[in-house]
Symmetry: none
Subunit: 123 residues, 4 copies
DNA sequence: GTGGTCTAGACCACC
DNA sequence: GTGGTCTAGACCACG
């Protein structure tokens, strides 16, 4: 598990975990039916509460990205590449809408946004 | 005052107000030393508590965008265009950093992001 | 009348006026029985409300520094030099107590305070 | 928490709290990453509203002296001694300017002020 | 358990 | 009329 969390961020810890696991699944870094580590292990490695990890796992299960087998553990859901692409698009689209509204509210033109993207993408 | 708030948004009401007033000041729609409407008026128009409006006004004052004259009202701070530009850039830069990190974590290339911006800017 | 007021200060305008007139009387710059200018004149010169000036005059009268003759105007009270000295001492003493408490609460030694006074007196 | 508040003072309660906590941090009596007591606890001990304590905490956070971890509590910010010194100097300098202006307006010489400081420091 | 937000209502000081 | 402060109480999210 490659997860990095920030205690000072305003994003809830469970959300940070969800975001990272989800991204790994969508990008194919976590393959179907791969077994996720036990929540206690993750909790101790990240030095956070088991409850928080459980909350993240629940969100992922609810999103259909993982499934639970009682007593055995949690596994990456068997999703076809197409389904992963759709989920990715949905996430991107959702975020993009808010972003465009924000930048436009500050008076940025399309060209300015693109210029900024080019300038800041590598950081 | 052109303010629109959403009770269902996960963004706090006072923050929505801050964002909109700030944008109007930065874009020059609200000129220096313009008197803002009394907090009670705004509160009744938006059908929210006076306290919530006051909270927004406080944030704006703390950010140096407005100043208060007790007993008289609140006014747009006299900021030179350059200062407004700097504030705008700071806001954009701050948001952009998080955005780029998010899109890159989902595996989007620079070209994909730009294509999406072009496609969704007008909505 | 040599009065300068600041609208942005957190000190109430009427208080600013009181402070300055009081200082002038105590220092002997305004002599006994001198007639103060009409409140309307002061108000228009300072571009403030008549009510505010009246409030200041009331405070000064209450402090025994001026007296009012209905229909004629307000005059500097005839106070012996000794009384003025006492008032000055009282004002100084009152302020000094708060100041010492503040500086001590921040951990400044007597020597540090004196050094700062020497350094900043001329500004 | 060593906090003493006065209901009769003209200084707002939340400001009294801010002043005292700030002084304790600046003087090193509250060390970095120390967990402050929950706002509800402080409120009940001081017999004031939770809101008032929260207001004080907010000011301290805005000043960079403490940081908040939602759901966990508030902690003293990890500031190097140098930063604390700078904050102390800033506070002192700000107050000193007003003090010097006040004393000079009453006609006190530098020597008189120093004499008064020596005389009243111990009280 | 913690803090974050919002509400309704009150009292005060200043203009 | 204005804003400044404080109160009591509620609901929510996070851990």
């Amino acid at each position: 598990m490659d997860i990095v969390i920030s205690n000072t961020s305003d994003v809830p810890i469970y959300q940070q975990i969800v975001d990272q696991i989800r991204a790994q699944i969508i990008k194919g870094e976590l393959l179907s039916d791969t077994c996720l580590p036990p929540i206690r292990t993750v909790a101790s490695e990240l030095r956070i509460s088991v409850i928080t990890v459980k909350r993240a796992w629940e969100e992922l299960e609810h999103a259909g990205l993982i499934y639970t087998m009682a007593g055995k553990g949690c596994f990456v859901a068997p999703l076809p590449p197409q389904a992963l692409q759709e989920k990715r698009s949905a996430l991107v689209q959702e975020r993009l809408a808010g972003d465009m509204a924000y930048y436009k509210s500050l008076g940025l033109s399309q060209e300015e946004i693109i210029a900024l993207v080019k300038k800041n993408y590598e950081d």
